[in-house]
Amino acid sequence: MTNSQPPTGLSRELIALRAARELEPGSVVNLGIGLPTLVAGFVEPSDDILFQAENGILGYSGVSESDFDSDLINAGGQPVNLVAGASFFDTADSFAMIRGGHIDAAILGGLQVSAQGDLANWYVPARGGGSVGGAMDLAVGAKKLIIAMAHVTREGEPRIVEACDYPLTAERCVDVIITDYAVIDVTESGFQLREVAPGISVGEVIDWTGAPVNVSGDVIEMSL
């Protein structure tokens, strides 16, 4: 690691936009609390993506602040709109979908991701206690797990590391990491750099990542 200041990468919105592009048309997707909830605002109806909220909705669109109905919220407590063909169900059904392999992709926030794809995203040791919500079930059950997060902490420490020192959400679960600096795939042989954000160099990604990153192959600039 360097002692210099970490570079400024993408805004949260642009991370969410890039994460939205990672979704396959026609897929069923769960969005975690925080940055991932922004992703719903960046998909087009023509993408035919169905968002699942673990509190019991399949088929909501963006957040709607105008008309609050306390019984119509997503898993982050935000009021949402429904799409035609939406359905409601209880928590048992919801987690049958999640653990049972019926969710094509989940986009969750992250605190740390390790080279073997372990995720830590629910417990900050300095705060203690924590809130786990549905994160562990989603990490285990979603067919594809995309982590959308800042590349480094506020203190400039890498979040992409050899091994997590924060308590784990699940082992060997992460497929792709999308940060303000890069798109990185988690492969059998560790981290593979796929894209860099505009204004961020391959060297900077390597410098601010706490584990080896394979940069062989075509590394392209993100198209946003």
Partner: protein, 230 residues
Amino acid sequence: MLAEVFQTPDTAVADIANGATILVGGFVSAGTPSNLIRALCRTGQTELTAVANNIGLGDLLDELCEERQLAKVIATFAIRASGTRQSRFESQYRAGEVELELVPQGTLIERLRAGGAGLGGVLTKTGLGTMMAEGKETLEIDGEHWLLERPLRGDVALIKAWRADHHGNLQYRLAGLNFNPVMATAADLVIAEVEEIVEPGAIAPEQVGTPAVYVDRLVQCDPIPVRWEG
């Protein structure tokens, strides 16, 4: 057997005992029995264990901390990710005055389902290799590893539905189901707060979300609006 209709939430919860384990339905604002929670506060009963999705996120469950009525909370969301705001629950938890058992949401609902459905436990991959597996048994079945989670039941369940009929059949609206239908199966005494009580038949059989067999008591109340404070 007809469900017993109570005129006020206070009379519906009056015989809840000190030390009871209470299942509380709802997901922050949706399907939350806020009138029953407030009435439980007014009973003054203490040493309670609350089982709920969340506490201290704008929900009224946190009000049970005001007079220190909770000994233990079993929940999925209990401590905010950011430390800028602290619920009453969080400050009492930090002071060691109340116990917290944090459970993954999918595991919590399946433990309750097992408790209500006469099953001996749940085998899940959720939590394997994490703090959640500490002190728990793991099983290998046909080469796959599973974490054994135990059933969970309450002495009382406080649930919220949109409408009930006099038999106790419940109908939910929108995303108000969440934990309510499963919690209704998993307690010795089930008390439902509803917005309207109608004659049997007014809720079409296929619209019944919780069949009457699970429901003991009904109370009609205007819902108290709450909002997530993240």
